[in-house]
């Protein structure tokens, strides 16, 4: 399954590079909700602040707004999302990240904020007004699984730290989501950019390791839905298409890959590169039916050709 997911990322990598228009921007809104206790206040604020810093450093096309502490009221959230709705175009991307505590009464999920809380349905309505056709909501709160039903929509991926609204303990997913944005190891396809799928897999893995190392029963199990239909899943799948949108949503860029890809003078090389990548993917799918030595020989030949092309593309 892991190889499958990796292949999915690989297959979608050219789309990732080519899909966004040249002037597409990404709008990020991060909200650190009510902490309740000093330790949580500090933790949530720290995570949101760190995320704000990373996103702002990631690229000039990023529009980043972060609400923490007493600023994170429902009124301010509505205000900020309304501003994004005014500015964002269909070709843009939009990422909303919620950090803090949530609650779920069996029917309705609420994100806890200073003053009145905001429900998943209210958040969904605010997001629906945003024209960006690629949207991502990362809900890292307790009970966040209870928000998926209200938030999911075609063209919007939803990540939640818990698999349902009944996982009510405080979560650790957020800290590893933030870590993913600064750990090169999270960029598993080495594309110099981090997709939402890579960030999800990284944070999910680190969260599981946290509970394992602490000898604690895991009280959160992250899931995502990016097809706009229930139920949410834990792993990407080519057959159901789960993970496709997440793989296309770039959270941060680490290198110069995008710039090189947009250089018209290098289109021929790019075409060669993409052709070789397709051949490599096709070969990998045939691996099980091939003699190992034959597979390795063909793979090596293709990889050397790809390395030569890419050396010319990115000297």
């Amino acid at each position: 399954m892991k190889r499958f997911a990796a292949s999915l990322i690989g297959l979608l990598a050219p789309l990732l590079v080519c899909a966004p228009a040249a002037h597409a921007a990404t709008f990020y809104v991060t909200v650190a909700g009510l902490g309740g206790e000093p330790d949580y206040v500090q933790e949530f604020t720290s995570e949101a602040t760190e995320l704000d810093k990373l996103l702002k450093a990631s690229g000039p096309d990023n529009h980043v707004q972060t609400l923490t502490g007493n600023q994170a009221t429902r009124a301010h959230v509505e205000e900020v999302l309304a501003q994004v709705a005014r500015e964002a175009k269909p070709e843009d991307a939009f990422v909303l990240t919620l950090i803090g505590h949530g609650s779920f009464d069996g029917v309705e999920y609420k994100f806890n904020l200073p003053g009145p809380d905001i429900s998943a349905a209210q958040l969904a309505a605010l997001c629906d007004r945003i024209a960006a056709t690629r949207q991502l909501v990362v809900n890292t709160t307790s009970c966040s699984g209870g928000s998926i039903g209200a938030l999911e929509r075609n063209g919007r991926a939803v990540v939640s730290a818990t698999k349902s609204g009944t996982e009510k303990n405080a979560t650790v997913f957020a800290r590893y989501w933030v870590d993913a944005l600064q750990d090169p190891a999270a960029d598993t396809d080495k594309s110099d950019s981090l997709s939402a799928l890579e960030a999800f897999e990284y944070a999910d893995r680190k969260t599981a390791e946290f509970y394992q190392s602490q000898k604690r029963l895991a009280t959160e199990h992250a899931v995502f839905d990016d097809t706009g239909r229930q139920p949410p899943v834990r792993t990407a799948s080519l057959s159901t298409g789960e993970g496709r949108l997440l793989a296309q949503l770039t959270i941060v860029r680490f290198g110069e890959a995008r710039r090189a890809a947009l250089d018209p003078a290098k289109q021929a090389l790019l075409a060669q590169k993409e052709d070789l990548e397709r051949q490599i993917d096709a070969l990998k799918y045939q691996k099980a039916a091939m003699a190992q030595a034959d597979y390795e020989q063909q793979l090596k030949a293709l990889l050397i050709k790809l390395a030569i092309v890419q050396a010319k593309l990115e000297p």
Partner: protein, 747 residues
């Protein structure tokens, strides 16, 4: 369950026959529980069986219960006793006997309740106290002797109480007291007290003398006394003479083939010695014959789980590692094992002529079952002959367990117990192993914990001649750990005063059964009392001041943590210094070093943080996150070699579930041209199946390239590129490798 309780089951039946009406036939007229038990104790099996059958068919419900029990019809006996107790609420005897049945059938919780209920009805019931003693003896909770003594005082004729006291004394390594109690039992019942005879036989065996006269006497009373031989075996095992224990369990089974408690113990001890196949046969036979105590069932489950283990032979070392982590742990465990074996071979001047088997269990309860048959064991590692079973690092939370020092400790046992033929007293074997940990690595040295400080303050150290008792029958919570500390410090003291060769001399002095006091006199020229005085004077000179101020330290620590929490950084730093001076060795939760480091880091005083965390490490701090923070500061300060050493120390603690550790250390060693180390770290990283497969494979390819192995470098760089074809760094390395192999360089 140890065999003692089973051995005493039939010996405690009290005479009530005359008081009970309803004897129906002439055949059953003589059949009383006492009479049947007497026949059984004298090996008159056929007659005992007839007697017990008659009891089971008696119209007297109590007799029926005893008869069913003796015939092994436990469910029927249980039902009969339940009915008896319900019908005779004020009867203490029925509760005592029912409790004994439940105790024999592995239900100590309900048995204990019944004994206590009996005492509520009859506060002077000796049988109830004896029952409580048996339950306590099984759990080693330190109360058994008091209960047994109370039983003996209430009923001076209760042979069984003296037999139990004799066994408990022998558990305490006090053969004189054991013999005295056994003799008291024999005086009361010269023709019946076979367990007392078995205790005498065990005393002789443990002293390397001939047990035959006592065994002959025992078998003269009962030619089929398997339980007596099992009792001997139990004491041999308790003194780590596992092979001898197995021999006596086999004798017990030969005398009494359906003695399933002995089969179970034989199976468990064969498992301890690494003979899994024969162990399985014995334990499965127990299970098939409805002997299903927790130890038997747990052991069978563990044997089933062995299919999940890899067995790897590396020279004279055999590793048994869980498949899920064997590729990761193997290089680390092999390295520590070979280093320790080489060090001990040189120190002790012998070579172990058998393979040393090392088993690591990722599930602590599996290790406990492997060791003791039951979960819940507090130990970290155990040595059986040349077989070591221990927790895997993944079996404990990070920072609470140093697997490398534990392995070093256990390997000392392999050598010392081999040289001494398992005769070294417990205090010396454990103390020397603790001492050797500190010799191997100062950060592994004997740790002065707060509990030990309190024991020192209260002057609770045991005299050396009685120190074994602290390991087996602790008088207070934590005494076992205090005993480990004391024993280790005694060996430190001997080395400090007489030199390291004296410890090796003592190892050989214990190669025959010699009391500690005699060895001290012969080899240190000191009576035990003088030794105690000299040792404690040395120890208290070193740590007495810390112990005296332990309460002040506790209050100071609370104040420090409050100041830190309130962000009063300057006052917290000052208070941390006070606390640190009072008790420098404290490196557990809330220790001052981490507080100082955090405050200093926040202030930008990296040098201050570095100093604090180096102290933390020096005093044995083992939290991986804190050590990684230290390594980061060292690296930022340009101390790359020290950073690598710090990270490498984490491998001794928690090399599992930590991709970041191996990635960082691999990169550091690669930069320091330590290709061997880099290969090991990146191999570990790949074995963790990281999300970043490409990065891990690329690192390993680089390491092999640095080691000059182009073939392996190519294999791993291709794996990296298979996972991430567009990985530029790996592509460059691939082209470099091809060039190095003779292909023209690509422009």
């Amino acid at each position: 369950m140890k065999p003692l309780a089973a051995a005493f089951v039939l010996a405690g039946v009290m005479l009530i026959g005359g008081a009970v009406p309803g004897v129906a036939t002439a055949a059953t007229a003589a059949a009383t529980p006492d009479a049947c038990a007497s026949l059984h104790r004298h090996g008159r099996t056929e007659e005992a069986r007839a007697c017990e059958t008659a009891l089971a068919h008696s119209s007297n419900p109590y007799f029926r219960a005893e008869g069913a029990w003796a015939l092994g019809e436990y469910s029927a006996a249980n039902n009969d006793f339940r009915a008896l107790v319900a019908a005779h609420d004020d009867n203490a005897l029925y509760r005592v006997r029912w409790g004994r049945l439940l105790h024999q059938r592995f239900n100590d919780a309900d048995a204990e309740s019944l004994f206590k209920e009996a005492l509520q009805r009859d506060p002077k019931n000796a049988g109830a106290y004896l029952g409580l003693a048996l339950v306590s003896a099984d759990s080693f909770d330190g109360r058994a002797e008091g209960f047994a003594a109370k039983a003996a005082a209430l009923d001076p004729g209760l042979t069984e109480a003296h037999e139990l006291l004799a066994s408990l004394a022998l558990e305490d390594s006090d053969p004189v007291r054991a013999a005295h109690e056994a003799d008291a039992a024999l005086k009361l019942a010269p023709d019946d007290a076979t367990n007392a005879l078995a205790i005498h036989a065990a005393i002789e065996l443990l002293a390397d003398r001939d047990p035959e006269p006592w065994l002959k006497r025992m078998l003269a009373v009962n030619p089929h006394d398997g339980e007596g031989c099992a009792l001997v075996a139990y004491h041999l095992v308790l003194n780590r003479r596992y092979e001898d224990g197995v021999t006596y369990y086999r004798k017990a089974i030969a005398l009494e083939p359906d003695l399933w408690s002995a089969h179970a113990q034989l199976g468990i001890n064969l498992m301890r010695l690494g003979r899994a196949d024969e162990a399985r046969q014995e334990l499965e036979a127990c299970y098939a014959h409805d002997y299903r105590d927790a130890a038997t069932v747990n052991s069978l489950r563990l044997l089933d789980s062995y299919s999940h283990f890899d067995v790897i032979t590396d020279g004279n070392v055999v590793l048994k590692l869980d498949k899920s982590e064997s590729a990761l742990l193997r290089p680390y465990v092999e390295q520590v094992a070979h280093q320790a074996i080489a060090a001990y071979q040189q120190k002790y001047g012998i070579t172990i002529d058998k393979p040393v088997q090392i088993e690591l269990y990722p599930n602590h309860d599996d290790f406990a079952v492997r060791t003791y048959g039951m979960p819940g064991l507090g130990a970290l590692g155990v040595t059986f002959d040349t077989v070591i079973a221990m927790d895997s690092p993944s079996g404990r939370t990070p920072g609470t367990f140093n697997w490398a020092s534990t392995l070093w400790h256990e390997l000392d046992h392999v050598f010392v117990l081999t040289i001494t033929h398992d005769r070294a007293p417990r205090w010396f074997a454990e103390g020397l192993a603790v001492h050797e940990e500190g010799q191997a690595n100062p950060a592994w040295a004997n740790r002065l914990t707060p509990d030990i400080l309190v024991a020192l303050k209260d002057h609770k150290l045991l005299p050396i001649a009685e120190l074994d008792r602290g390991f087996v029958h602790p008088d207070y919570p934590g005494e076992v750990l205090v005993s480990y500390f004391e024993a280790g410090k005694i060996c430190d003291f001997i080395q400090a005063r007489w030199g390291a060769p004296k410890l090796v001399e003592l190892v050989h002095a214990f190669d025959s059964v010699t009391p500690t006091v005699d060895v001290l006199a012969a080899h240190l020229g000191m009576p035990a009392a003088a030794f105690d005085q000299a040792f404690q004077s040395w120890l208290y000179h070193d740590v007495g001041d810390t112990a005296a101020h332990v309460d002040e330290w506790r209050q100071g620590l609370v104040k420090l943590l409050t100041l830190f929490k309130d962000h009063q950084d300057d006052q917290a730093l000052a208070q941390a210094d006070v606390v640190r001076r009072l008790y420098p060795e404290y490196v557990d939760d809330g220790n001052p070093y981490e507080v100082i480091a955090q405050i200093d880091q926040a202030k930008g005083d990296h040098a201050g943080a570095l100093t604090a965390l180096l102290d933390y490490q020096k005093f044995g701090g083992e939290d991986p996150a804190t050590l990684k923070a230290l390594a980061a500061i060292q690296q930022a300060a340009g101390q790359s070699q020290q950073a690598a050493a710090t990270l490498d120390a984490i491998n001794d603690i928690y090399p599992v579930h930590d991709e970041d550790l191996h990635r960082r250390l691999g990169a550091l060693w690669l930069a320091q041209h330590n290709a061997t180390g880099a290969v090991r770290e990146y191999t570990a990283l790949v074995a963790l199946h990281p999300l970043d497969t490409a990065g891990a494979e690329y690192g390993l390819a680089q390491a092999w390239m640095a080691a000059g192995d182009l073939g392996r470098a190519e294999t791993h760089v291709l794996s990296a590129l298979e996972a991430a074809p567009g990985y530029r760094d790996a592509q460059k390395l691939l082209l470099d490798i091809e060039h190095a192999k003779g292909s023209p360089r690509v422009q």
